[in-house]
Subunit: 551 residues, 2 copies
């Protein structure tokens, strides 16, 4: 007769409890926030085989005599794994597999890199992203003619750094059937020369004109991208992330990885639309799957584009483009209809809104829909909430809205935002502290792969409003700085709250998941530059060491 | 400090094994096949909390003194849960939610039923299936004009009993944009009058012309359909089934049900095409999920239509339609390409082939592809294998092909098959015994919802070649009868083998899953009529009672 663990477990209920089934990671410089955001210090942490923390130990507390296993960390810093409240897992994965132009400082440097990549990669399409004509100081968008100089025999398609525009060569435009007679789609714009001939850059919805000609990623490529994203996140100490805009194919990839035990970090998934949420999760959020590693709990809706490409929907004209106010994607009625459908099935709503008009539209809709769900714990989210009309700020508090913001967007966008908005409208731009002071809730993320997924960069930006070069002196509009502890909360307990996961992750305490990181320095004592340079030595999820630097 | 079962399990490894963690179902008239198909009898069965059988007990064997729990079955018959080797889970579910015309014996009876259903159901579309103009003795296909007499204000769309044709009213054709100028698609035919005007019936691929206008089922409806199918299968003693042609939406439904613990039976899933298999499972079959309740292990390909609608692809003309040979869906090259792609990723191939030409094409392709995988355990399947050129029969044995056949198709199709094929070609039709005698492998299913999912009907048909009315006397072409035990094997151990599940289900023995049924009679002693009338009293899956008749 076979004996299996479950039978033995039944027998064991008769036995006195034994403490030594816990593991002990001892001799750490342990820090965590508590549920109120206060700092708690500890010296050892115990957790069980399910990956649940059973105790935080102070130096004086007695250790179990014979722990099942024990690790001495030599006094290293241990803190809870960090959480990104707004990222794109598969986007990050594909980015690491594709040509990365995010470091380029000029068009010529980018063209050289594109030519080299094309020579080294015999793929059907040359795919990449990360270009930024602002950073190049080009003063114009790049063109297909620029690209043709280095690759003309194969199609090239390169997304802008913010994902809100794409740059094609002539071969890609030909394959996609783009011609001077192609019309601008609703919510998008084809850049053209004086004669109306497309010049190679496609804004927002117009990008689909090229994108539809790109072959779909194979499941093999998807698996590889997932694993690349996972490596990237774990290496910078991110143990849980929000996935904003999960597609059915993304979801099937996560399930494949989860089924095979290859999913090591946690994903709070927001479907890329109502239909996807219903197709995947049906009549409401999925349960937490794979020991709390995956859940589809909400729906992302998009109200406008980005500021850089002038797609963000503003109340008044762009300061640097009179007559343009950006693009609203949905009518008020369409938005209300989508929100009603999702909310009725208990999905959380996460609404992308960048311009002040889009944020105003989101707040209006939340006000209407929330009225039907009084007393419910709905946690309405606005993603980015980048430019807010000061008149709208108090509504975040009144409606209990979570502003899901990205500190590194502020430091990257600073000069661009000044140009787009002019001085008067900056008052409600990247207004982290104002959100808190108005009673709203904050959560922080990176919007990877738009920005680096490294949360220490975001953490430093949030309490300095300075970039990696410490610019500008004193911080950009420093009245919107939050404290070092609030910045940490944004990437931990507040990000967990924003994903209905605050009972599981974000801090270390008995009953919480044992997700933690070992660092080479103390982020509470490090200077902003030092904080940005933090090196992760070990990443643990669910009481298991899932990442260490390669030797 | 919290104590959780896993910790206790670790402690328990030090303790002597205890037998009483098993459950005992005692005092049964137990029968099962062994792996060779020999009958084994027992009197009690023990299984553990994981749902794994730990012992079959004879009357004289000593019982544990204090079993954790014990059930006395009062001498009732207990046998392994039966397995359907070819069914359509969601199709069965939707059928039970839709209008069922399968019992109708005349056009007038069907029209009355349709009118009544439309009056009672305020749905946008009237959907149903199960009609059979052969059974009605109509001598022609029904028409839109027939339907318009009872429903003209709303669209009506009714699938034929074999799923290979559909019947629309005028409103449905209007909404779908079908007109006299609509062309027959590849692999399909629009029935027309002498002037070329569509008359309302759409054969095979032509059905898509109407189907595309039907609103998709909502996730709510899908969940309901799944639960209806589950109830239906468990009630007739089917504890595991093959799902032939799983779509992404089907899969997402199964995952929702599995995630919530609502999936009680087992599904061996075959994706409805290579792309679906790759999208869902990626680089190869999924693992067994939910305690061996779900796995996508293979891919279904379709080579032709059905005999009733003259869509089956024959080597020579239909006996009752000179000049027509039916429709081949794929060229040899297309088939080889799809098989190569699926096989490379270790998916099992299950190829739908009904006509002798389609079966010949399938065998040709298997011969070519198998050559690249010598020594591999690939278990090539041909689904239906209804009409085989006797010259092709030995190739089943030579290539180790599994003929996945449906005994009740034979009894339902008998007179139609005689008309379609004429006397000479019947020699290789529904040739179960010939398959075995030629060294091929068999598995049996019902093709539900085309036929009833009740496996006792198929079991009886397989060793009698008679229908429920005991017709024809002596059985139709009785030389193709298999034994009562072989018929049982077809619905149990052979069906498990066909799904790579023979180490888990299909028979009862230590180490196998505790899937069993309690019956009101002994199927080994029952007359064929009695066997068809078998009532299931209890259905157990994984050691858990999951179904009993409602009181």
């Amino acid at each position: 007769m076979k004996l299996i663990p479950q039978m033995l477990a039944a027998a064991a209920i008769l036995i006195a409890p034994v403490a030594h089934a816990d593991g002990l990671v001892d001799n750490v410089n342990g820090i965590t926030l508590d549920e109120k955001g206060e700092i708690v210090r500890f010296n050892g942490i115990m957790f069980n085989r399910e990956g649940i923390v059973t105790a935080l130990l102070t130096p004086k507390q007695r250790r179990p005599k014979k722990p099942e296993w024990k690790l001495d960390m030599g006094g290293r810093l241990l803190m809870p794994g960090l959480i990104d409240a707004h990222g794109h897992v598969m986007g990050l994965g594909f980015q690491t597999l594709q040509l990365d132009l995010s470091g380029t400082r000029s068009l010529d440097e980018a063209l050289k890199k594109i030519g080299d990549y094309a020579a080294a990669n015999p793929t059907k399409w040359i795919m990449g992203r990360g270009w930024n004509q602002e950073r190049w100081g080009l003063g114009r968008f790049p063109t297909a003619a620029d690209l043709d100089r280095v690759v003309s025999d194969r199609p090239v398609w390169l997304e802008r750094v913010d994902g809100h525009a794409g740059w094609a060569n002539t071969r890609a435009m030909t394959l996609a059937g783009v011609s001077p007679s192609s019309k601008d789609p609703v919510g998008g714009r084809i850049e053209r020369d004086a004669k109306g001939v497309p010049t190679g850059v496609f804004i927002d919805a117009a990008a689909a004109l090229i994108q539809k000609a790109v072959p779909n990623a194979t499941p093999r490529e998807r698996n590889a991208a997932f694993l690349a994203a996972q490596e990237s996140l774990l290496s910078v100490g991110v143990t849980a992330t929000t996935d904003m805009g999960t597609t059915v194919d993304d979801w099937l990839t996560y399930r494949r990885m989860g089924d095979l035990g290859l999913m090591k970090f946690r994903i709070m998934s927001y479907a890329g639309g109502v239909d996807t949420a219903l197709a995947v999760a049906g009549q409401g959020p999925t349960p937490w799957l794979y020991s709390d590693r995956l859940r589809m709990g909400g729906i992302k809706l998009y109200l406008d584009g980005a500021l850089g490409s002038r797609g963000a929907w503003l109340k008044a004209d762009y300061a640097d483009a009179p007559g343009q106010k950006g693009l609203g994607f949905l009518s008020d009625d369409q938005l209300l209809n989508l929100m009603s459908r999702g909310t009725m099935d208990n999905f959380q709503l996460a609404i992308h809104a960048i311009g002040d008009r889009a944020n105003n539209q989101a707040l209006n809709a939340i006000e209407v829909v929330a009225d039907s769900y009084k007393g419910d714990d709905r946690r309405w989210r606005i993603e980015h909430a980048q430019v807010i009309d000061p008149a709208d700020l108090p509504r975040f508090g009144k409606l209990g809205v979570i502003a899901s913001m990205q500190p590194t967007h502020q430091t990257s966008d600073r000069t661009m935002a000044e140009a787009r908005l002019g001085p008067d409208r900056l008052k409600g731009a990247y207004a982290w502290r104002s959100i808190l002071q108005n009673g709203g809730k904050l959560s922080f993320g990176s919007d990877f792969p738009v920005e680096s997924p490294n949360p220490f960069a975001g953490w430093a930006a949030a309490f300095t409003r300075q970039d990696a070069d410490m610019q500008p002196f004193g911080g950009w509009r420093p009245e919107e700085i939050v404290t070092r502890e609030q910045a940490w909360a944004g990437f931990s307990i507040w990000a967990a709250y924003a994903g209905f996961a605050e009972q599981k992750i974000g801090r270390l305490a008995p009953g919480m998941r044992a997700d933690f990181i070992i660092l080479d320095r103390d982020p509470l004592l490090a200077s902003p530059s030092e904080l940005r340079g933090t090196r992760v030595l070990e990443t643990w999820v669910n009481g298991e060491r899932v990442w260490m630097p390669k030797k």
